[in-house]
């Protein structure tokens, strides 16, 4: 499906700081032209270092970084066809919005009329008309964020790098900006490489996600795949809500929970292996007793331990004794039966929706 080289190619990239800190460990990754790619992971997992190596702000200790097939080597940042939106925005405090946005063009000696036109367009794109003469410290966080975005986009880089650009904004603004960023990316058609520790943000915006942990790239795939088919326990626990139940493989495709119940689940482990059964809260349903459960599904008896009303949905915690507990996200529909704390219930889930990972 890909013609031509990858927008960004990382091959065997390793970054060490000092003797024993390995920030990025032997990374293999190809980011396609025009996609919105997110690097997702907890803080300190090496995602920002990876981004900085693409930008040229750090050089890999080992391996190769390519941008559209060109080996970057130790090429300095000003000679790379990429621009960065920094986490703290890094707007120049001694320049107004217009001069901040035009900085890259000035450095490339674009002629004045052309520069003015492009700066104007970029300011329009991020909807900051009328703010041209303001200094960054006279802008709100959201506006500063837009300036940072315009300042990078105005140069039409081949790849735009974004380092947790929404981290400093409040929740509401962050959600608006997520959609806006996605729209802008569709409009300009530039490859976005987006670093974040917020799994929801990554799921919302990305075409594909690369999950990182401790310097290693764990799993790369489309948002749905990362969410629905996590490769291991780390990805499963880091992305989205999840119930975890300890157990062991009873026979191929069946797990015995610590309370003795046997349920069918997706697994590749051999019988006898200790595993953790994982289940998304929205794939679990609650019934009054076993007879109501549709055929071919797992069912486990328990009782409602907790109930939290969340408006559009109701969160239940179902205690299943020695086996642990299930988290259940039930949609708040008029037809749904409401449960009270203490009610004896049966939880049910499809075998395909439960995945058991070896410890």
């Amino acid at each position: 499906m890909m013609d031509g080289p990858a927008a960004v190619g990382l091959h065997g990239v390793t970054k060490r700081f000092g003797e024993d800190v390995v920030a990025v460990d032997d990374m293999e990754l190809e980011i396609r032209d025009g996609e919105f790619f997110s690097l997702l992971g907890p803080s300190g997992c090496g995602k920002t270092t990876t981004l900085r190596m693409i930008a040229g702000l750090e050089f890999p200790t080992d391996g190769s970084v390519r941008i559209f097939g060109d080996e970057m080597g130790i090429r300095p940042p000003n000679k790379r066809p990429v621009n960065t939106v920094f986490q703290s925005y890094a707007l120049f405090p001694h320049m107004n919005v217009e001069d901040n946005v035009g900085f890259g063009l000035r450095m490339q000696k674009v002629d004045k009329a052309e520069m003015q036109r492009k700066v104007g367009e970029a300011i329009d794109l991020v909807r900051l008309q009328g703010m041209e003469k303001r200094r960054p410290n006279a802008l709100s966080g959201g506006q500063q964020q837009r300036v940072a975005l315009a300042r990078a986009l105005v140069n039409r880089p081949k790849v735009l790098l974004l380092d947790e650009p929404l981290g400093a904004l409040d929740l509401k603004l962050r959600q608006t900006m997520q959609l806006e960023l996605k729209d802008i990316q569709n409009e300009v058609g530039i490859t976005f490489v987006y670093v974040t520790h917020d799994q929801e943000e990554a799921l919302t915006m990305s075409d594909r996600i690369g999950v990182m942990n401790e310097g290693k790239l764990i799993q790369v795939g489309p948002s749905e795949e990362i969410y629905e088919a996590p490769l291991n326990l780390f990805v499963a626990s880091f992305v989205g809500e999840m119930s975890f139940l300890p157990g062991e493989i009873a026979e191929p495709g069946a797990v015995r929970l610590s309370g003795g119940e046997v349920v069918r689940a997706k697994t590749t482990s051999a019988p006898g292996t200790s595993v953790t059964l994982t289940l998304r809260p929205e794939v679990v349903h609650i019934f009054g007793d076993h007879s109501e459960v549709p055929a071919g599904r797992n069912s486990v008896a328990g009782s409602i331990a907790r109930r939290i009303f969340q408006g559009g949905s109701i969160f239940y915690e179902v205690d299943i004794g020695a086996s642990g507990s299930f988290e259940v996200h039930a949609e708040n529909l008029p037809s749904m039966r409401r449960w009270k704390v203490g009610d004896d219930v049966v939880v049910d889930f499809h075998p395909e929706a439960a995945i058991a990972f070896a410890e």
Partner: protein, 301 residues
């Protein structure tokens, strides 16, 4: 009235205006008490003596040269236009400017180097090294330079060995060397303070936006360190304009600067009114220069 207006009104009225005013007044009194020691000290030991100097500049002299607080006149002030004074003033000004520029050129890269050391402990150590000279008396250090610059001093010997210079003691270059040596730390410290709190991600952003290393320095680091440049320049320029010890010990009779001229008036020449007028004139010039400096650059960033 909208709901919001009502809420705002309720909030502002929650505090009794009379009590609030009282609290604010108490606050301002407390502020005054904090400033009082400095206020008293500066009034008695700075403002009053300055007034005395100003008053004396209009006084007359008896036959023996004793200043008399009568026969008020402007003679001392008009004497400032004297060609001899002008020569010394121009020499002082040139020296002070050259000293400021050279200190800046030496101190900037040094302060930059200290500020960019990764470890805090390294930076502290280097800063202490800058301050070490202050542990011994300035006069002693200036006499040390006298020995270095004299006929058999190391610096003179080195110059003769390479054939580049001879004995410099009692010449203008000797004074210049002494001034740069004496005032360099006053340039390093404010520059360091400015560079140390620089947000280096701004430089990274500049590099990312196609600026070469040199361009990023010119467009980002330099303008953002301007407050340090201004503070350092003022701290060096002003005292070196009135420098006395260095030109006195290293300069000999030919390189008199304004400081020496003033001291001569109070001592050998016994002309207190003229000395006072000279001091007053320098102070006024410095005040104006400082104000202009702050107005032009001090408020940016």
């Amino acid at each position: 009235m909208t709901l919001l207006d009502e809420r705002e009104k309720a909030q502002t009225e929650a505090v009794n205006p009379r009590l609030e005013r009282k609290a604010r007044r108490r606050e301002s009194w407390r502020g005054f008490f904090h400033a009082a020691p400095a206020f008293v000290y500066l009034t008695f030991f700075f403002t009053l003596p300055l007034l005395v100097v100003f008053v004396f500049s209009f006084a007359s002299r008896s036959n023996t040269g004793k200043p008399q607080l009568e026969g008020w006149n402007l003679d001392s002030w008009t004497r400032i236009a004297d060609p001899l004074v002008r020569t010394i003033a121009v020499r002082s000004l040139t020296m002070a400017i050259a000293n400021t520029v050279l200190c800046l050129l030496i101190a900037y890269p040094f302060a930059y180097w200290i500020a960019t050391r990764a470890r805090q402990s390294t930076r502290t150590l280097l800063l202490i090294a800058v301050l070490v000279p202050f542990w011994s008396n300035f006069l002693v250090r200036t006499y040390a330079w006298r020995m270095l610059l004299d006929s058999d001093g190391y610096i003179t010997q080195l110059g003769e060995l390479t054939g580049l210079w001879g004995r410099m003691l009692f010449t203008a270059p000797a004074v210049f060397i002494g001034l740069v040596y004496g005032y360099l730390p006053f340039m390093v410290l404010p520059l360091y303070a400015a560079l140390e709190r620089m947000d280096w991600s701004l430089v990274e952003a500049g590099r990312d936006l196609y600026a070469s290393g040199a361009k990023a320095f010119q467009k980002i680091t330099l303008p953002l360190s301007k407050p340090g440049i201004i503070a350092g320049s003022i701290l060096v320029f002003i005292p070196s304009l009135g420098a006395y010890v260095t030109p006195d010990i290293l300069g000999g009779a030919k390189t008199n600067l304004l400081g020496n001229l003033i001291v001569t008036q109070f001592q050998a020449a016994r002309n207190w009114p003229f000395g006072s007028a000279l001091s007053g004139a320098i102070m006024i010039i410095m005040l104006v220069a400082t104000l202009v400096y702050f107005r032009t650059g001090g408020r940016t960033v």
